[in-house]
Structure formats: C-alpha cells, structure tokens
C-alpha cells in the first residue's frame, strides 16, 4: 500500500478510533461513522502529514480512492517542485 494509504489509515485508527477491521481500501468514509466535521479534520490532518492539500474529500469516497487522489497530488506537487527548481 502507498504511503498516503498508510497515513490515512493510521489517522483513522489512532485519531478517530475507527476499528482496525473497518479500515480497508474499499471502505467508504461514510461507513466509518465520520460526520462532516470529522471529514474536515481528517483532511487537515492528512494535509499536515503528507504536506499537500487533498482536495475534495467526500463521504462516498473509499479509502483506496482517497489514497490514490493523495498519491496523485503528491506526485503532481513533486513535478511542480522539480519544474520550479529548473
């Protein structure tokens, strides 16, 4: 699993006390008892730990989709940084 997935699942287990067996790539955020406030908190936490803003965290997204989105954002950010360095 990607670094993003690991960070997101760590957050859910440690900070939001989601039972470990529920934290799976195919699980939707909506099914983890996270209300809208918790989703905003989660996005800020992921942002702080990954260093990129993950736009558009939606309740119907699965953890796998969210991690893929985060991975793509990290990759785009790295490309931008390389571009800026040139």
């Amino acid at each position: 699993m990607s670094e993003s997935y690991r960070i997101i699942s760590d957050c859910l287990r440690a900070e939001f006390e989601v039972a470990a067996e529920l934290v799976r790539p195919e699980a939707a955020l909506a099914d983890l008892s996270l209300d809208s406030l918790a989703l905003v908190e989660l996005s800020l936490m992921v942002e702080e730990r990954l260093g990129v803003t993950v736009a558009d965290i939606r309740p119907e997204s699965t953890l796998g989709e969210l991690a893929a989105l985060a991975d793509a954002t990290v990759a785009a950010d790295a490309t931008l940084a390389v571009g800026a360095a040139r």
């Binding site: 440690a14 900070e15 939001f16 006390e17 908190e41 800020l44 803003t53």
Partner: protein, 402 residues
C-alpha cells in the same frame, strides 16, 4: 446542601485522595515549566502528565482543550465518589456549574499561528468548539448525560467559588436534584504568564520556584501560575439520605459581592470581601465565632494578602486558623475556589488543616494565625472558603462538618 462527592485533578495529585495526601506533606509543587522557557517567569505548578487518550479515548481527548479534559476527569471522579451511576440517574434533574476564567491553553496559540501564517484553510473546525469557555460545562454534561442546567461562571479568580454558590441556588430553587459544581482552568501559556508578569502579579523568584508561592510571608512577591480542576457533587440533604449516601460535609451558605473600587486591585480595607463573607455567614445562619477555620484566597501578592487579612479582621473578632492552598499548587484561576472548597471539605472530614508552604516569616503587617509547615489538628465544625477576582468580584462559601 450535602457534599456527597469530590473530584480533583491538581498539581499536587491526580484525584482527591492523592491531592489531599500531598497537601498534608506541605511541599510546593512549583517548578521550571518548559512551556514558559525563556520568559521572565519560567516556572509554574503543572498537573503531572496523564494519559488523556487512555482515560478519555483518542477522539474525545483530541476534541477537548486541556481545561475541559481536566473538568471531565474531575467530574467523573466526583460522580463515582458520590456513588452515582449516570446510566441510572434522571438526567433532567442533574445540573453542571463550573467556574472558568482563562480557557484555551492549547487551542488559541496553535490556530492563531496557522491564521497568521496566511493559511486560514488550515484553521481547525474545532477551533471554537474546543476553546469557548462554556464547553467545560457542556462537555461534562455530554460526557455524563446531565440534561439539566449546564452553566459556566466567570468571576476571574473567584469563578470556582461563584459556581458553588450558583449551584446551591439551583438546588434551593428545586431546579435540580444533583449539581456537579466546581471549576477548571489551565492557563500555563506563554501569553498568560507574560501578561500577568506585565501586571507585576507573578512571583519572579526564578532561583527558587518551590519557594515562590509564599502567601502571607513578608517576602512574598506575587503568585505562581497553576492549573487544575475541582468538582463537588451537591444535593439536598433529603436527597442524599434517600439515596443512602453519607455526606462528606455540608455547603451551608454562600455570599458574593463586588468591591466596585478598582478593576484589578482589591479594596485595601477588605470591605468588599468582608461583605461577601458576612452574607455567606448570614445565609448559613452562623455567627462569626462559630467558624473554626478559614481557607484563604491567599495568592501571595502584596495587595491581596493584606486586603484579605483586613477583611478577616472586619468579620472576626479574632480570625480562626487560616491556610492558603495556593502556596502548594499555585493559582489555578477558575478552578482555585472549587479546589479550595474541596480541600476545606477534606479538612473538616479529617479534622486536620493542611499547612501553608513557604511561610517562614509572617508579614509583620498581617495579624493572622496561619497554619505553617505541618498539618494542625482541628475540631472546627464550620469553615469558610473565600475568593477574590479581578473586577473586584468576591465570593465566599460556608462549609460545615457532617
């Protein structure tokens, strides 16, 4: 009103029993505080580190600012001590009244830093729910299922004592059968320490933190910042009897007043505090000579201690033995009055007055019998606990032995 349960989280101990035991030893808890490193005053009386996620759960501990964490933990202890089961009680008849003065030790600095760094998008949505002062009472009500009035009193350093008075009124008005009354604060922040120091209110005894909080001593030079929470379970005597619970003591009367003299300084002649104390005595139906002990506000500032001594001489022909708990745990702001009332309950119960630390030489201008160094046995059947705050706000409660 019967006092049937106590909860305390203080720098002297985690829990009422641990706190009491430390107090009888008479040592100050003041020490260098990493939070205040590099400041003109770099010491305080911190509560020992505790496992908040373990005690409260990760989600709740993260949601609560420290002042609310302390309140919830003290309230849980008080409820268990009173042999109450929140799953069984009629929640609509249970109230919560907590004194809060400073608030938001942890939340504001972090969120302001994000905003000032040009990142409003990174400000936590929990900024307000975590930091507003009423959340101390709101979170205790939520945690325990207390569905009655849920209130915060704010009279600066008198907030905790004011809360006990208001709780007493709610019970007398039959608005509640049980009230969890007390106070909480955690103000050990660089800004609060700096601001009090700029007011010249804090002790600057950096070379000797443990000797810094010295109420009524001739060498006192200000108070020491502390933190903590204290909660008392109050109920009408018949209600306690019907539950088959033996009270620890009784809250027999309350009084309050305002100096209306100066925004921070107490009235030097103590007339305002004396008025609150007389009102509390009248409310309890007791004469001054029936009071055997005074739990003083005793901050260790030059102005407070002399004004307080003057107030006691106004009310008492010869003031009974006095102790100043802030010598040991510093000034816990909104929690102070509640913690001091809880310690007064234990004083009456154990028939032992805990000593005032650091009193080596009584200020010659102060004529009080202050209990120093070691606990003093007492046969007091009634005691008073008094508090004064910025704003000239004074509050007093009378406690009687069970």
């Amino acid at each position: 009103m019967a006092v049937t349960g106590l909860g305390m989280i203080t720098s002297a101990g985690f829990g009422a029993a641990a706190t009491w035991e430390h107090f009888c030893g008479g040592r100050s808890t003041a020490r260098a505080d990493p939070e205040l490193a590099g400041l003109p005053v770099d010491f305080s009386c911190p509560v020992e580190a505790f496992d908040a996620p373990g005690l409260l759960g990760g989600r709740l501990s993260r949601r609560l600012d420290r002042f609310s964490q302390l309140a919830v933990l003290a309230a849980r202890e008080a409820v268990a001590d009173a042999r109450l089961d929140p799953a069984q009680w009629d929640g609509a008849r249970v109230g919560v009244v907590l004194g809060v003065s400073a608030t938001s030790a942890a939340t504001h600095p972090v969120e302001y830093a994000r905003l000032n760094a040009g990142r409003p998008d990174r400000v936590s949505p929990m900024m307000l729910p975590r930091s507003i002062p009423n959340m101390a009472a709101g979170e205790v009500s939520l945690d325990l299922g207390a569905l009655g009035p849920s209130l915060v009193t704010s009279t600066a350093c008198a907030s905790g004592t004011t809360a006990l008075g208001l709780a007493c009124d709610l019970l007398r008005a039959d608005a509640c059968d049980l009230v969890l009354a007390g106070g909480t604060d955690s103000a050990r922040t660089s800004m609060v320490a700096t601001a009090f120091d700029q007011l010249r209110a804090l002790s600057r005894r950096r070379h000797d933190p443990a000797g810094a909080s010295r109420p009524f001593d001739g060498d006192r030079d200000g108070f020491v910042l502390g933190e903590g929470a204290g909660v008392l379970v109050l109920e009408r005597v018949e209600h306690a009897r019907a539950r088959g619970v033996r009270p620890r003591a009784y809250l027999a009367g309350r009084g309050s007043s305002c100096d209306a003299y100066h925004f921070t300084k107490p009235r030097p002649d103590g007339a305002g505090l004396a008025r609150a104390l007389r009102a509390a005595l009248a409310d309890a139906g007791l004469a001054p000579h029936e009071i055997g002990h005074v739990n003083a506000h005793g901050t260790g500032t030059a102005l407070n201690d002399s004004a307080e001594a003057a107030a006691l001489h106004r009310v008492f022909h010869q003031p009974p033995p006095v102790t100043a708990n802030k010598s040991i745990i510093g000034h816990s702001m909104g929690a102070a009055g509640a913690i001091e009332a809880a310690l007064t309950v234990l004083t009456l119960q154990h028939r032992l007055i805990p000593p005032t630390a650091n009193l080596d030489r009584l200020d010659p201008a102060i004529d009080l019998d202050v209990v120093t160094k070691v606990p003093r046995p007492t046969d007091a059947a009634a005691a008073v606990s008094v508090s004064s705050g910025f704003g000239g706000q004074n509050a007093a409660v009378v406690l009687t032995a069970a």
